[in-house]
Symmetry: C2
Subunit: 302 residues, 2 copies
């Protein structure tokens, strides 16, 4: 599991900082999460192949999280993309993207599939053999979802020496991987655990931005391996966090602690702060395993 | 008159090139012309004060000419702008910007005034004591206008020594500047030309992008001082220019020649070309005074 931060600042793009966008590589998927203005240039900078992006998740329709989407869709067309593109985001996202295409008398050569979200409870919005994606209803000034990406439990791994020593026919390998006991060539029942080992523990990533402090999300993200939680403000500006429906570093850490997260990544910093280490210091008073998002930073979680 | 090129490439923003946007400083105005994605960052890079921009002219609703507008409007609000903002652009521009604000549950603290264009003939869309702005109907895949910015003739300049030598009362200075003959303190009629000199020749700038070759625009831009005319292609790719409704460098030069322009600036290059000097060389076979737009380049026309 690998996370590339394309942008992690709040409000507006600036010369050296970008609004929210991330790429999550998980089990051969490359998910784009949020798409602030300039995201397509950040993707180019980080040499992320456009064609590998098949699913884009948009948390909410504030500009710093989605003003780069229309341009990205348009660029995909200019580059003669043919691969389907799925877009998950709040109701309204289809109308606004479609209107922009209509006014430009434009279209896509590829299939553009919108999955509009409007539920206030967590729902499963994507699933295949390898991965599930669930929404995390957040509390912001407009309808907003975070996203929980979960690897599925993989198949058990064959211990090929043990399999052969036990004289098991290759036709049974599939069943072994699925965890079944099987009969060998001599008609003996071989216990699965004798010839296989457990798969790697599936990993999970929760993206929570933008949101006020909201304990309701804890059960949804319980035991998540990596939690990205916004921390627009430091505790000393908590009075700003409340009306703007954002969180402080301390509040983010409290959610991480309650959820028993493995690692907390902070981001969505207000541009008023020069020293990001203050966010880390503050969060660490509550929760130990804290890391700071920075534009261009790559986190490998293996 | 000063022109800053924020972006002059076609199609998509890339790591080192930006889509169309320019700032024209003319007679204390700072006009923003087109607003591709990333324009607000380019404005910051070139230290152009956001508050000085009171009028934005959008040629057409293709993304590479206006996908930066919603973000710029939103950033102006975040920076607590109070100055009115006038936006001139094709019909539909108000709907698409308003929809984006509605979905973000956002608004502006300042007055946002849309001037929607739909005429197929040139019209005066802005005028004050110093400047006029006229549309230049272009020929593109969607409804598109260029813009002609014309300084008005200024007042005549007083030759203060001659004025004093002719014993003219200060109450008449205004009339002198306006070109009238006046009576002096001795009751003698003083010819205006004796005590004043002609104002500086008013300057003009025509922005023509995007467009196929269109001779109809020549009378509108006749004798313009500076003409920016798109040259997406070189002549060797003329077959691409026709269906996409773009121009070649040679065609741009032909328009400049017929219009008797002072200087031709080329831009809106297709990203297929590595050597921009080929555009200049080609245009110079038709018209001598050719310059190349480049992102970040500043042209001073004094």
């Amino acid at each position: 599991m690998k996370l590339t931060i394309l942008g992690c600042y709040s409000a507006t793009p600036r010369v050296l900082t970008n609004p929210t966008s991330q790429v999550l590589e998980i089990k051969n998927h490359m998910f784009l999460i949020d798409c602030g203005e300039g995201t397509q240039v950040q993707l180019r900078k980080h040499k992320i192949k456009f064609n590998r992006i098949k699913h884009i998740f948009i948390s909410h329709l504030h500009g710093d999280h989605f003003f780069g989407l229309a341009g990205l869709i348009s660029t995909f067309r200019l580059l003669t993309r043919e691969t389907d593109l799925n877009i998950y985001g709040p109701k309204g996202i289809k109308e606004v993207i479609t209107l922009q295409m209509k006014l430009a008398d434009s279209w896509t050569n590829y299939k553009l599939i919108f999955h509009e979200l409007e539920s206030d409870t967590s729902e499963l919005i994507f699933e295949d053999d390898d991965v599930e994606v669930h929404t995390i209803p957040l509390k912001h000034r407009v309808y907003t979802n975070g996203f929980l990406f979960k690897e599925k439990e993989g198949e058990r791994k064959l211990n090929i020496n043990a399999v052969k020593a036990n004289n098991i026919n290759i036709a049974y390998y599939r069943k072994l991987k699925q965890g079944f006991d099987v009969e060998n060539e001599n008609g003996e029942l071989i216990k699965n655990s004798l010839v296989t080992s457990a798969p790697e523990k599936p990993k999970s990533y929760a993206f929570c931005s933008d949101t006020a402090y909201k304990e309701d999300i804890v059960p949804i993200i319980k035991d998540v391996d990596v939690l990205y939680h916004e921390s627009t403000f430091l505790e000393k500006h908590e009075k700003l966090a409340d009306p703007t429906k954002h969180s402080t570093a301390k509040q983010a850490a409290s959610i991480a602690k309650q959820a028993n997260a493995g690692t907390l990544i902070l981001g969505h910093y207000s541009t008023r702060y020069d020293n990001l280490n203050d966010f880390k210091t503050e969060a660490k008073t509550i929760f130990k395993q804290v890391r700071l998002a920075k534009d261009g930073k790559v986190f490998n979680f293996n």
